[in-house]
Subunit: 244 residues, 2 copies
DNA sequence: GAGTGGTCTAGACCACGAC
DNA sequence: TCGTGGTCTAGACCACTCT
């Protein structure tokens, strides 16, 4: 195979070009999530570069979170985020952290995408989005209320699901049913109050203080594939950030 | 000079040992913040290792935030955090971000360190701490209320200062007056309400919702050197976090 | 033992900054 | 022009995993 790196990608080092080329091959599905990439030596021969150059390219992909390297085993395409739970912003149960909360899908509806959503999702004109709400429960007590918006036609396979067919963890479900890998996300936190409907669902009083987490999730190619708004009791809010 | 890397640091790669050795030399003040380290070739000769090995050691120090490398210029010891402002958690003025808020020192007092503080600061028995409050203002309007605790004798040079002699930015002041470099910090966010004293100082009502940021700041050797608690209007709170 | 990534070497040349 | 870090090569050996 002639995968020789040409000079078409200007302004980059050789390993930079290699990284983007290999990334493209992954995005085109040449190697599926969880699968092993060719070994360093194989790639260095295929591209006609030194081992060290391949290694530098690979370390870029590791930084991007696109591949994962394991000594003695190989280099593997990432499976993306899985838990990435909103619970990391809240502390509902001081005792156990490892619990996966239950999930209740409340209602799903199909609607036209707004202008802003079409822009984020890079949708064509008059495309639709799938919007639904769900409640997450710990020990049968509601703790988080989520509104989730997904672009069509990418998430078409979810249209026919009954509420009880949804998994408790959405991101692995996106991968299995729609082939979508969630690679990273952006969370915006702010403070607000629950309206009466939200309050009833969380078994709190109307006007109760809450923290709002607005998440935009992206796939391997930096395409936004989910908009999620999560509300939880402000008194349960706790978050730890590391500065530089 | 015989700086040959011996086998005394077990379980590490050669560049790992080199990194800790060079880090120690920095911590012992051999090269001051802002100064240039010896070049790669000089270090490789001094330690009798290949250039690439020095480079790997250096990239570890870059990751640690201890040095900064500039092509064509050299490798420099970090000057640490400077602004690192609490304003990044709040949005008081949609227009301008670049403004440095004014600073008002309210009161300073010397007191015994609590057990927890002695532990964090690694203080000897019966050491004291310097505690003070300050208000930060934007356009002459108070926006943040801070309580700051510093260990003695490290921060002794600040004991004799009059309130007006304090700088608006504390971290550069720590460096200049006490030789303390703030390298990283841990912020813990939660939600609460202002008591009557806090409310009066922020010109808000008692019981007004607020966000509390509890910060622990550390120097180059991972020693905690400041405990800071900041309160601000919850309605001005906004924070963006990147997930993986 | 065969195959993987991790470490290390001893060179070479390039890109950038300062003088 | 010189010194700096950045890139690249073509080897070698080590540590780990699987079978």
């Amino acid at each position: 195979m002639d995968h020789t790196i040409t000079g078409t990608l200007l302004g980059q080092s050789r390993y930079g070009k290699l990284a983007t080329v290999i990334k493209d091959r992954i995005l085109h599905g040449e190697w599926q999530p969880g699968q092993m990439l060719p070994s360093e030596t194989a790639l260095s021969e295929e591209y006609g570069v030194a081992l060290g150059t391949i290694r530098q390219a690979m370390s870029l992909l590791v930084q991007d979170g696109i591949v994962q390297r394991l000594q003695g085993k190989g280099t593997f395409v990432t499976r993306g985020l899985n838990g990435a739970s909103m619970l990391r912003f809240f502390r509902f149960n001081p005792a156990d952290d490892v619990v996966t909360p239950q999930s209740n899908i409340l209602q799903t509806r199909l609607r036209e995408a707004s202008a802003e959503e079409r822009l984020l999702f890079k949708q064509a004109e008059k495309q639709k989005v799938l919007q639904f709400e769900r409640i997450r429960l710990l020990n049968d007590e509601p703790c988080l209320l989520e509104t989730i918006i997904l672009p069509l036609p990418l998430f078409g396979p979810l249209l026919d699901l009954e509420p009880h067919e949804w998994d408790a963890l959405l991101y692995p479900m996106y991968r299995n049913r729609c082939g979508v890998i969630v690679n990273h996300a952006q969370d915006r936190l702010s403070f607000s109050h629950l309206n009466s409907i939200q309050a009833r669902r969380l078994k709190l009083n109307s006007g109760h203080p809450c923290v709002v987490v607005e998440r935009k999730a992206y796939d391997l190619s930096n395409q936004c594939i989910e908009i999620r708004t999560t509300r939880g009791d402000a008194y349960s809010f706790t978050y730890t950030a590391h500065v530089k």
